[in-house]
């Protein structure tokens, strides 16, 4: 079963083509990292996959069905989305914000109040935000807000996760925890697409890497296949060196002088 499929996906505004003919298949159980320089079209791609933007050409399928034909309420049972920059001054407390992630399940006849409470509790746990449950969201730090928003996404419990920079403003320890939680989501048969800037985090945790440049996919495949010195150096316009990670089974990407 495929979680999300993009076919010749294109998005143009005026003269600029932000996403240009992207073909992408992300299956259930797969964690795909989307990387690339600023302005490569990564966030636009997430917006298209989420159904926020209407493609200029091509289309998106969610769980094998054309996204354009799925009602917005049903869509929320299929995919959860973390935006790069959400609203910061939310007046609700953290528990209420995470509980909003359960809103789509009002349409699910099998959902129970217990399931809602359990899902919220688990999501808080998994993002290490349980101790913030009573705090007003607006008073949190940037990293805490990212984690709480991610908790809301986990609580939504959708088979497809579309995450735009889920590790923004996180310290190293929290970044590791969040990355392994995303990997865990994939292990329980979710399709996870995450835009990441930390190439080494992508190299270790992702099953597959999609490298974007100027709106198109420049390279795609397992981390060792995509994180190659000449490709990265060219795409980022920055000399890069790649060595074997001394103790993790993945490449280690370094900036060369």
């Amino acid at each position: 079963m495929t979680g999300v499929t993009a076919r010749a996906l294109t998005y143009a505004v005026g003269n600029a083509t932000l996403v240009d003919g992207v073909d992408l298949v992300v299956s259930d159980g797969e964690f795909v990292a989307v990387v690339g320089p600023n302005g490569a079209g990564k966030s636009t791609l997430i917006g298209l996959l989420a159904g926020d933007l209407r493609p200029s050409a091509g289309g998106v399928e969610l769980l094998g069905e054309d996204l354009a034909g799925v009602p917005v309420g049903e869509l929320a049972l299929r995919r959860a989305v973390l935006k790069e920059q959400g609203v910061a001054d939310i007046p609700f407390d953290v528990r209420a914000v995470v509980a909003m992630g359960r809103y789509p399940h009002r349409l699910d006849p099998n959902n129970t109040q217990l399931a809602d409470i359990t899902a919220v509790g688990e999501a808080l746990d998994r993002t290490s935000t349980s101790h913030l449950a009573g705090r007003v969201f607006a008073t949190l730090s940037g990293g805490e807000r990212t984690r709480v928003s991610l908790a809301r996404v986990f609580a939504q419990d959708a088979p497809v996760l579309l995450l735009d920079e889920p590790t923004t403003a996180l310290d190293v320890a929290h970044q590791e925890r969040v990355m392994s939680q995303m990997q865990f989501e994939a292990r329980r048969e979710r399709a996870v697409v995450a835009v990441l800037h930390d190439l080494n985090a992508a190299a270790y945790y992702a099953d597959r890497v999609v490298l974007m440049a100027e709106g198109s996919i420049r390279a795609e495949g397992p981390p060792r296949g995509v994180f190659v010195e000449n490709i990265l150096s060219e795409v980022y316009r920055q000399r890069m060196r790649i060595i074997d990670h001394p103790f993790r089974d993945c490449p280690l990407i370094l900036v060369a002088d």
């Binding site: 909003m100 992630g101 809103y103």
Partner: protein, 349 residues
């Protein structure tokens, strides 16, 4: 361990338990209505008010009320008080709804231009249709203005203050047109400019009350129904969509309901300023941000505020009736200043 975080104390919790808020407000509202029934140029004692009420519902207990007291109570004061209550509830709830929808503390039906739009429609409607015409015209015009503000203020930059600026600009132009119509038309048919600018409950009738009650009743129940969706809007429009809200449909429906409610009140009593701004802000301190309790308590609090303001309006300079909006503005203006000087939510004070 990290240092104690002072920011978590930025929002002080009042001592009143959340569940008690609507009960307290309801009791205060009942008290204010009772007080208002007895006070005015004809003073009616509480017992006389009570017995008159009992006689009306068919219980012949206590002294027979005097004809004059009975007429004052039933034909003048009660419809006026109930209309005030309804207008206050309508404006406070729509204020709270717009603040949620546009994620801006300064949103208010009149500041967003809906009030002035309604006044224009009301002035035009009253030329041919009297009070009922004014209500019909104001309701239609307010719905149109609310949709126009929404359309003009919408940008991709997601800057909620655009809606306020759009509304203020639109409102100023519309108010000027209200003035032109008032001065160009027959003053026996069209209410004077101060009615449209400041509102007045003078001469409230049961007929106007019933019309307003129907429109406001339908509109408010729709908005209460949408309270969970309004909660989700706090996350941002795209997040609400990600959670399954049809944002465009919800926004259009909410905006039209707000327009209808505000329009009906403006047609009947003119523009009563600052209720929609002031009441939800005070109420929110006690109920928290969730819209269901916020809207319920805002309705009660708005009713309380306008009933008390109107009591002052008709007793302060008796026998002169002061426009009720003068009193709500006298309280609301300084409050507004305080509000825009206050640091934004979530920042240390």
């Amino acid at each position: 361990m990290s240092a104690p975080d002072l920011r978590s104390q930025a929002v002080p919790r009042p001592f009143l338990p959340r569940r008690a808020v609507p009960v307290v407000l309801g009791l205060l509202l009942l008290g204010a209505c009772a007080l208002s029934l007895g006070m005015g140029s004809v003073v009616i004692s509480p017992s006389e008010v009570w017995f008159a009420f009992l006689h009306r519902i068919g219980l012949d207990i206590g002294a027979e009320p005097s004809f004059r007291a009975d007429a004052v109570l039933w034909d003048i004061r009660l419809p006026r008080i109930l209309l005030g209550l309804l207008v206050g509830a309508a404006l406070a709830v729509t204020g709270a709804v717009l603040q949620g929808l546009y994620r801006n503390q300064l949103a208010d039906p009149h500041l967003l231009g809906i009030g002035p739009g309604a006044a224009l429609g009301g002035a035009l409607g009253s030329i041919s249709g009297g009070v009922q015409g004014a209500i019909a015209g104001a309701t239609a015009a307010a719905i149109a203005t609310a949709l126009i503000t929404r359309r003009l203020g919408a940008t991709r930059s997601l800057d909620p203050s655009r809606f306020i600026l759009t509304g203020v600009a639109l409102g100023a132009a519309l108010t000027a047109w209200v003035g032109f119509i008032v001065f160009a038309s027959d003053s026996t048919k069209v209410p004077p400019i101060q009615f449209w600018l400041l509102g007045s409950l003078t001469g409230s009738t049961w007929r106007a009350l019933v019309t307003v009650a129907v429109i406001v009743g339908v509109g408010l129940s729709g908005l209460f129904f949408a309270s969970r969706i309004l909660d989700l809007f706090a996350l941002g429009e795209s997040e609400a969509r990600h959670l399954g809200v049809d944002v465009d449909l919800a926004t259009a429906t909410i905006v039209m309901a707000v327009g209808a409610i505000v329009g009906a009140t403006v047609g009947a009593v003119g523009v009563v300023v600052f209720v929609g701004l002031l009441v939800p802000h005070i109420v929110r301190r006690f109920t928290g941000p969730a819209h269901r309790p916020l809207l319920v308590s805002s309705a009660l609090g708005g009713g309380l505020f306008v009933v008390l303001a109107d009591l002052l309006a008709r007793t302060l300079a008796d026998p002169v009736d002061i426009p009720v909006g003068l009193l709500t503005a006298a309280v609301g203006g300084p409050f507004f200043l305080w509000l825009i000087r206050k640091p934004p939510r979530g920042e240390p004070t």
